[in-house]
């Protein structure tokens, strides 16, 4: 018997993601995984999944899906939009809480509102093959997820579970803080010395804006151009998610989860890991301001974020 979600409308860019693909960057395969790992983790917790269960990541505009199973349990996290159930018992499930949907129900996640990305967890998760140890979709390499690509109309996303128990549902203890105006913390380097002192000052003192050229590879920013002190070609070296690369235009690009593994432009700074999900949520047109911290502080902030996240997962509220 088929157990699946049928794609009535795919949304703008909906892919299967888990926590990412580890161990293949030395052969050029990026880690992929979610733009916002915090929301992915909370969504999985709400439906009772282990944190490494694959989910559906949607960008800007969510999909419309139909339940082709006895029942499913879903939860949406990362945006202000909710899940609209349009057939039968019409209702809206707000973001940040789980719900059980029955066979034949059609549910829509429309415009995500303030955030770029949101995550739909499904109890048990989608049933997709693990490719190089991960279910994450890397669209450019046609690797992972559902056929290595984003969802399209009439796709059928197979599910691990054909039905779920009737039991109490859960909600986040408090709404997720999308941190839409929070300054983004960076560690300067690895190539800050390739820029003039003025450029580093400008980078830390200016308002940048997320440009429409923002995708899972990187978010291009507009704002004051940054002058290179030593040219803009370096001998290619390794790249991490969060690296702020500055090509010849002088305009920074924050590299995100599908970034190339190596590159030849100098990187003025690196967004700290705690703040990568916050950049990930930030829509084109919204401001970004950077503030420098040292590595030790970055590590402390990540530890603190992890503690908070664990507490939230342990303190989900029965609804």
């Amino acid at each position: 018997m088929m157990q699946a979600l049928e794609v009535i409308a795919p949304g703008l860019h909906t892919t299967v993601q888990d926590q990412g693909r580890i161990g293949y960057q030395d052969i050029g395969v990026p880690a992929s995984g979610p733009l916002d790992r915090i929301s992915l983790r909370l969504a999985n917790a709400l439906v009772g999944n282990p944190p490494d269960t694959p989910v559906l990541e949607m960008l800007l505009q969510g999909p419309t899906l139909k339940v082709i199973a006895e029942s499913v349990r879903v939860a949406l996290v990362g945006c202000s939009a909710g899940i609209e159930i349009r057939s039968g018992n019409a209702r809206t499930i707000p973001a940040g809480r789980s719900a059980r949907l029955a066979r034949g129900e059609v549910f829509r996640i429309g415009a995500l509102g303030d955030s770029v990305c949101a995550y739909l967890a499904i109890e048990g998760g989608p049933e997709v093959p693990m490719v190089l140890g991960s279910a994450s979709t890397y669209v450019r390499g046609a690797i992972g997820g559902l056929h290595g690509r984003r969802l399209k109309q009439n796709d059928v996303v197979p599910l691990k579970l054909g039905g779920v128990d009737v039991r109490g549902e859960h909600a986040l203890p408090r709404p997720l803080d999308l941190a839409l105006d929070q300054p983004i913390r960076v560690v300067l380097g690895p190539q800050a010395e390739y820029f003039t002192d003025e450029a580093v000052q400008t980078f830390l003192a200016s308002d940048y804006t997320v440009s429409p050229q923002a995708d899972r590879m990187g978010y291009r920013l507009t704002g004051p151009a940054l002058a290179h002190a030593q040219g803009y070609d370096i001998v290619s070296d390794g790249i991490v998610a969060g690296a702020v690369q500055v090509p010849g235009s002088g305009l920074p690009i924050v590299l995100m989860v599908d970034h190339q593994t190596i590159g030849g432009y100098p990187k003025i700074a690196t967004v700290i890991s705690a703040d990568i999900p916050i950049v990930g949520r930030r829509r084109p047109g919204r401001p970004i301001r950077f503030v420098a911290v040292d590595v030790r502080e970055a590590e402390r902030l990540r530890g603190k974020q992890e503690t908070t996240l664990r507490q939230e997962v342990e303190n989900l509220v029965a609804v």
Binding site: I22, G23, Y24, Q25, D26, I27, G28, V29, V131, L132, R140, G141, A142, I143, V186, V187, L188, G189, P190, Q191, I234, V235, S236, D237, G238, I239, V240, A241, G242, A243, Q260, T261, I262, K267, T270, V271, I272, S273, A274, V295, R296, A298, E299, R302, G303, E306
Partner: protein
């Protein structure tokens, strides 16, 4: 040049051995990469060797930059290690005009005959410096000096998989169809990147590569064998 540790946020450190493309520098990078992997350092997630530096990804919830730096410094002190044998791959390469869209232009720009280009390219043993740009894309060098050219002024939107290319002092093979700015001087019928293999990239950083010239009929025969999963790329272990 001394070894430098560069910050790369709170999830990686970069160990930089130099600021140029150099075989000796790259071999130090590859040796440290192997050492870091063998040492199983707590919190290390993966390593990415590049031309002149090693990127070490770590989990900031399991270790920190300061202790990882000390652990890597200790490995650097212990870098006696004699040279290990390397794997030499013999990659079939078809340089026929039908498979080499830029060969004529490269001849014009270098002032060499196409036959001389093929002879030079096909008689050199290359070192795989690193893999990246797209999955499985090998940066191999060094190219014989007369073949050195800058990248194309107008990159192609689409380069087919298997294209053998040159630019600067490097040669490469496009593993997947992708955009590309290098000069295409031949094609190989083999698969450089295949997700059905446990390690999908055929080549690894540190491997050696030679190109073995083949004719168009040989290209077609090998391609058919590859498609039928009945072809193995010849390789052997050699002294470094």
């Amino acid at each position: 040049m001394n070894v430098r540790f560069l910050p790369a946020g709170d999830t990686a450190v970069i160990v930089q051995f130099g600021d140029r493309i150099d075989r000796g520098v790259n071999e130090r990078v590859l040796r440290l990469s192997a050492q870091v992997r063998a040492a199983n350092l707590a919190g290390v997630v993966e390593t990415v060797p590049t031309f002149r530096s090693l990127l070490v990804h770590y989990d900031p919830l399991a270790t920190d930059s300061a202790s990882l730096t000390v652990a890597i410094e200790n490995l650097l002190d212990d870098s006696r290690g004699e040279a290990q044998p390397v794997k030499l791959w013999r990659i079939p390469a078809c340089y026929a005009a039908s498979h080499a869209p830029d060969l004529e232009e490269v001849a014009q720009r270098t002032g060499l005959s196409t036959a001389e280009i093929v002879r030079l390219h096909g008689s050199t043993r290359y070192h795989v410096y690193m893999i990246g740009f797209v999955p499985g894309f090998p940066y191999m060098g060094d190219l014989p000096a007369p073949l050195t050219l800058p990248r194309r002024a107008d990159p192609r939107v689409r380069v087919s998989a298997g294209s053998i290319a040159i630019a600067t002092n490097m040669t490469a093979i496009y593993p997947l169809e992708s955009p590309g700015g290098w000069h295409l001087i031949g094609a190989t019928p083999i698969r450089l990147f295949d997700l059905r293999r446990p390690r999908p990239a055929l080549l690894s950083p540190g491997d050696a590569v030679r190109f073995e010239p083949i004719t168009v009929p040989e290209f077609d025969a090998i391609r058919a064998a590859v498609t039928a999963d009945a072809y193995q790329v010849p390789s052997e272990m050699i002294a470094a």
